[in-house]
């Protein structure tokens, strides 16, 4: 049977990069086309998968009604065998329960386990601002809002089902605190500093032993500058550029926040998320004793 593994993350934390690494494991001579990794069937909030299984028009359901069916949809998906050993499914939803008290993602019957990818919130903020085409301060406010959602507009049909994110700390806490599924933590920064070891360990947790040669090739094929080059050439199907936001694969750096955020913005993020940052190993700037010019 195909094992379903949640690839859980707060938005802009490396989820797409991880999926591209995994997709490139089977690439041989050249990198996988970034536009052919199939996002829409591969994200928990996809409408098409939900409608395929429930036979309902999700656009006729309220967000809460759709949520009441989602656990059973994932439990159905988890029983499917698509011929592969595992299926990585992206999820930006926080680990929450539906109104009836069931785990939204179907609990232990909805998936086998979960890989949680986290990223320094000071680097998430500029990336989120670019992605949502909003200002940095608005992105920082979104990350501090426990009611934050993606795809929750009541005026038009959103491309995906609503995703309740919680605030940045709450998102990580929800996945780390749940007891339905074994969870493996991947830090974006580790994936960048030690890609081979970090990626191979995560895949092993997911149940796939990756050959070193395959992992090395995947890491090379999914190198940030190569992803960005593909995007510059043909665009990226998973997002729409707009305004000042021209690229999905924007910078892909760690610690870019030191040049992208003001000291006051850093302070706001650190005071909102200090405890979770410390728990995940992100040193607060005042604790590093770093003096920075604004």
């Amino acid at each position: 049977m195909t094992r379903l593994i949640w690839l859980a993350s707060y938005p802009k934390s490396g989820n797409t990069w991880f999926r591209l690494l995994a997709a490139n494991l089977s690439a041989e001579d050249e990198p996988v086309d970034i536009n052919k990794i199939g996002e829409r069937g591969g994200i928990a909030s996809a409408r098409d998968e939900f409608e395929f299984h429930t036979l309902l028009d999700s656009g006729l359901l309220t967000h809460d009604e759709a949520d009441s069916l989602r656990p059973r949809v994932y439990q159905t998906m988890a029983l499917e065998d698509d011929g592969e050993d595992l299926r990585l499914v992206k999820a930006h939803d926080a680990y929450l329960t539906s109104a009836s008290g069931e785990p939204l993602l179907g609990g232990a019957l909805g998936a086998d386990r979960a890989i949680l990818i986290v990223r320094d919130p000071r680097d998430v903020a500029p990336s989120l601002a670019n992605h949502r085409k909003i200002g940095l301060d608005a992105a920082i406010a979104l990350m501090a809002d426990p009611g934050a959602c993606f795809a929750a507009s009541p005026r038009a049909q959103t491309p995906q089902l609503r995703q309740r994110l919680l605030d940045w700390s709450g998102h990580a806490a929800s996945w780390l605190g749940q007891t339905d599924l074994p969870v493996h933590l991947v830090r974006y920064e580790d994936l960048q500093a030690a890609p081979l070891a970090t990626f191979t360990a995560a895949m092993a947790f997911a149940g796939r032993q990756v050959l070193a040669a395959d992992a090395e090739r995947a890491v090379a094929f999914a190198r940030f500058d190569r992803l960005q080059a593909q995007e510059r050439e043909q665009g990226f199907i998973e997002w729409r550029p707009g305004g000042a936001s021209t690229l999905f694969f924007r910078r892909g750096q760690t610690e870019a926040w030191r040049s992208e955020l003001t000291a006051e913005q850093v302070q706001r993020i650190e005071s909102a998320h200090g405890p979770m940052m410390r728990r995940l190993g992100y040193a607060l700037s005042r604790e590093e004793g770093v003096q920075r010019a604004v």
Partner: protein, 323 residues
């Protein structure tokens, strides 16, 4: 707004009669957005409040909220109702506690009726359509693909609406595909109504809790007489490397597109109807053809999309003889 013809049933209940996809329907619940039927003959399909089994033992197939056996189908819409479809001729519904009757109606005409059409062995596409020069032109796509919005925008340009959301395809004596117009009112989100400037044609909400409304089409709907099927377009959003345009897929891909856009495609295999869709693909291929229409989803791009379609219709001879 289409006002349904009410009449007294034998039990003193008000009964409504409609015409959906060429079938006469008798219903004890009012269903907005449909053509009324004035006939007296026994209806092809009866919709009535009635007992619905809690579950189906030993189903031939089942999903998170449904189960089926030969000639029987049980569907649950949480918080709204359970529906029990038998023999392609009867729909019984059992409301859940908090359900409003308008909510039940919304699910009766969509999924529930669509599954009943499958039960009757009919070919049903997830498509909206308009009449162009006496032929039905269809736009297929999943929920949210923009079918109703495009069809309504075409109605603003003077093309009569043929169907909204799903569409039954029959055949004439020579095997050419036919579409049964049924005058269902398009359902549009508030945002689309605003962008198409249709506020004065906005009807009741599809469900009290949604900003999605029935819209009285800006052009009279096509008459109920069946129309020959013209070109059929699969809608796709222009994104990344996928650029706006109209392309004709090869015959194999065309068949896959039609099969994928069968209404509730999950059921086609379960109901043993795959063959029907391959035959449909051949018939549509010989008639108007199957195409992929790629366009920006942005409302600002709608005029260009319609211009591209009209040029295409001229190019393939669909608009020959039109004004």
């Amino acid at each position: 707004m289409t006002i349904p013809a009410g009449r007294q049933g034998t039990a003193g209940l008000q009964l409504y009669r409609y015409r959906i996809a060429g079938l006469t329907v008798s219903s004890d619940v009012e269903i907005p957005g449909l053509h009324a039927d004035a006939g007296d003959a026994a209806a092809d399909v009866t919709i009535a409040l009635g007992p619905v089994p809690e579950r189906l033992d030993d189903p031939a197939a089942a999903g998170p909220n449904w189960a089926m056996a030969p000639g029987a189908f049980l569907l649950q819409v949480p918080g709204i109702a359970r529906f029990w479809l038998t023999g392609g001729a009867a729909i019984a519904y059992q409301p859940e506690l908090e359900a409003a009757s308008g909510d039940i109606a919304a699910f009766l005409t969509g999924t529930t009726f669509g599954i009943l059409l499958h039960q009757r062995g009919l070919v049903v596409l997830h498509a909206s359509g308009v009449a162009v020069n006496g032929q039905a032109v269809l736009f297929m796509g999943p929920s949210g693909a923009g079918k109703s919005t495009l069809a309504t925008a075409l109605a603003q340009r003077g093309y009569p609406l043929v169907t909204d959301d799903f569409c039954v395809l029959g055949a004439d004596g020579a095997g050419r595909p036919l579409v049964h117009p049924d005058g269902r009112l398009p359902k549009l989100w508030a945002q689309a109504i605003r962008h198409l400037d249709l506020a004065d044609r906005q009807g009741p909400a599809v469900r009290g809790r949604l900003s999605k409304f029935y819209v009285e089409p800006p052009q009279a709907a096509a008459s109920p007489a069946p129309l020959p099927c013209g070109p059929v377009y699969a809608l796709q959003e222009a994104r990344g490397p996928i650029r706006p345009g109209i392309e004709r897929p090869n015959i194999v891909d065309a068949a896959l597109l039609l099969r994928k856009n069968a209404y509730r495609a999950r059921l086609i295999k379960q109901m043993g109807q795959e063959e029907l869709y391959f035959r449909l693909a051949a018939a549509v291929g010989n008639a108007g053809g199957v195409f992929q229409l790629t366009r920006e989803l942005d409302f600002a791009a709608m005029p260009q999309t319609i211009d591209a379609l009209e040029r295409h219709w001229v190019g393939i001879g669909e608009l020959v003889g039109a004004a």
